[in-house]
Assembly symmetry: C2
């Protein structure tokens, strides 16, 4: 895994809200933006922006289904990430 991509993932997780979002997505496997908006005290646009950052880092992926987008954690990327930390 290249340093640049690692940095992107680290950076994406470098915000408390985004950490909690990822933890939540892992717990319930998959979820839509609106569900997260209901949990956190931030606006819809802010949450959408956080999800975008997570998606761009590669740790989360989103699947458009109708008007909704289902987000889930990319298990392959997470595993690569885990492996890096383990060998650090």
């Amino acid at each position: 895994m290249k340093t640049e991509q690692l940095a992107k993932i680290f950076k994406a997780l470098g915000h408390p809200t985004r950490i909690k979002i990822v933890e939540h997505i892992i717990q319930i496997n998959t979820c839509v933006c609106g569900e997260i908006v209901n949990i956190f005290p931030f606006s819809q646009s802010t949450i959408s922006q956080h999800l975008k950052i997570l998606k761009e880092s590669g740790i989360v992926c989103g699947e458009v289904e109708g008007p909704k987008t289902y987000f889930c954690v990319d298990k392959a990327v997470l595993e690569q990430f885990r492996e890096y930390i383990k060998n650090l």
Copy 2:
């Protein structure tokens, strides 16, 4: 490990140079600022700032010895961090 501290560590590692600095410190166990300055194409003040951020996150600790500061990775914190990622 609290979300806030995790975010600080993630954020500290969210920069390619700081990732490489940490990798380097782990490899050679301990090192001083000047040594890192010689490796990277950045000024002394920039490297010092990066080291400060790493130190403030808790993942790195520095020991002042005369005019030099010896930096090393806090193994306990790294282990806690590893454990978090593992259980994610």
